[in-house]
Symmetry: C2
Subunit: 290 residues, 2 copies
């Protein structure tokens, strides 16, 4: 039985990853800051900034695979706590890699970067450095480390992204039986969205057959405007969405991810944007208390 | 009286900087991991990785200027302790900038990068990220932070650089009255050397009139081979140096620093390579116990 350690296991992508690897027959060790017990896999409490805790958990499980999802992944949090963001995303990641190097050097480790990686804000900077740092570390110390760079991930589950927040607002209104319209603006801003479940499938492929010391961009191959997303929601609810065409000029469209490398490994996205949207709405409708 | 806080104050460049700013009429607060008392300036013990200690010292002195020299600055140490290198050079630096941001935001702070900045080894990577991080931080939070990027600094004082090590070996032999030849190889490797005292002069200019959020390269404008350095020593000692022309092809010559920006501020190096070499030898000769 293949054992995988997944950091950030109680986060949006982490929960999907734990479920998915479990279904695929892996022994899953989830790692999270708080210990939690309500999952059908082992959940270990571990602060990645604490060297003793990291070494302890790697020694205890010596996983064959590691999917590193932990870290600060919010732009607003990165503005409020920029140093914590750097520490979590850089030093936390390096603590993990160093523990692997000394205790478990054969472990194939996948680091998840971000399409936002750049210099626009502390989060972008932390992800840019994280990616560069991990590739350099892999080369310095000849470690089987890979980097995935996904676009915006959407899907059922608790997420603070726009697509989830809009669904939450809609379901809240549905439950309240109110007819206050929900304002949607920045309609022309375009983003590349991918269902988180498709991303997790890509991560599994990379952990198994990706090339070490390489970076793989992961995306759906198409940009969607916020207008398009909101219209898909509108077709699924009685709640009225009000579309505001603000005077703001749209964001510069981001470039599409270059998925050539991951596609060569026979990965392709399976879930359409409509499928994601519908599942997100169902997820929020299924929650008892909002 | 202008107050300056100098981190890494007991290091090679730090000691020169403390002396130099003291002579120039500044009130000097040296910061070092160990508290030391034998200096004609205040020396505060402070671990830059410890937030409480950093906040304490900034609150206590609220300096008008800060020269940040602390950090790991050895390539071999960076291979042995790569994570400590990243923590010291990135997180230590950010702790200082964050303390300034919250307690003393007007403080003009000069961060010293390195000509070695790049991806060749953990030290190079740490300095590359340090420079990028500081410039980004300065822009994110509108801080009067500047970055200096000096070439190899040489001069009297304890340094682990080649030029100092060779002088130490020569003086050791002079003291032992031995006539064992000292091997010098890699003769054709060229480096840009600058006297540390000229660098400190540049740092003072930058702290006073440099442009915030800018990077200034600092160098002598010429490359010198190790052969040239060794010959200058040979002309100053009776100890015999043996020149080995190893089969190794010379390193790729580094590019010269681009000193246009610092020269526009009327800085120029004053101490010749021969002057540095002679002072380094005198320094080691003046030490009682080797």
């Amino acid at each position: 039985m293949k054992r995988i350690l997944i950091t950030g296991a109680s986060g949006f992508t982490g929960l999907h990853a734990c479920h998915s690897f479990l279904r695929a027959g892996y022994e899953v060790i989830g790692v999270s800051r708080q210990s939690e017990t309500s999952f059908p896999w082992i959940m270990e409490a571990c602060d990645l900034l604490n060297q003793d805790q990291v070494h302890h958990v790697i020694k205890k499980y010596k996983p064959a695979y590691c999917l590193h999802l932990a870290g600060v992944n919010s732009v607003p949090v990165s503005w409020n706590q920029p140093l914590l963001t750097m520490e979590s995303n850089l030093i936390g990641t390096l603590r993990l890699l160093e523990a692997m190097r000394f205790i478990n050097p054969e472990c194939r480790t996948l680091i998840t970067g971000s399409a936002l990686s750049g210099t626009n804000h502390p989060y972008a900077l932390s992800k840019k450095f994280q990616q560069e740092l991990c590739l350099a570390w892999a080369q310095f110390f000849q470690l089987p480390v890979l980097v995935a760079q996904p676009c915006n991930l959407i899907g059922p589950g608790l997420s603070s992204g726009f697509v989830s927040v809009l669904a939450r607002k809609i379901v809240h209104q549905e439950n309240q039986k109110k007819v206050e319209p929900i304002a949607v603006s920045h309609l022309n801003n375009a983003r590349e969205f991918l269902d988180v479940r498709d991303a997790v499938t890509a991560y599994e492929i990379l952990l198994n057959i990706g090339s070490a010391q390489s970076i793989y961009e992961i995306g759906s191959g198409r940009l969607s405007t916020l207008n398009e997303i909101a219209k898909k929601y509108q077709s699924l609810t009685e709640v009225k969405l009000s579309f505001f065409s603000s005077n703001q000029s749209p964001d510069k469209s981001p470039r599409l991810m270059n998925t050539k490398n991951i596609k060569e490994l026979n990965w392709e996205p399976k879930i359409s944007l409509s499928g994601s949207i519908s599942d997100i709405l169902s997820y929020y409708r299924s929650l008892k208390s909002m």
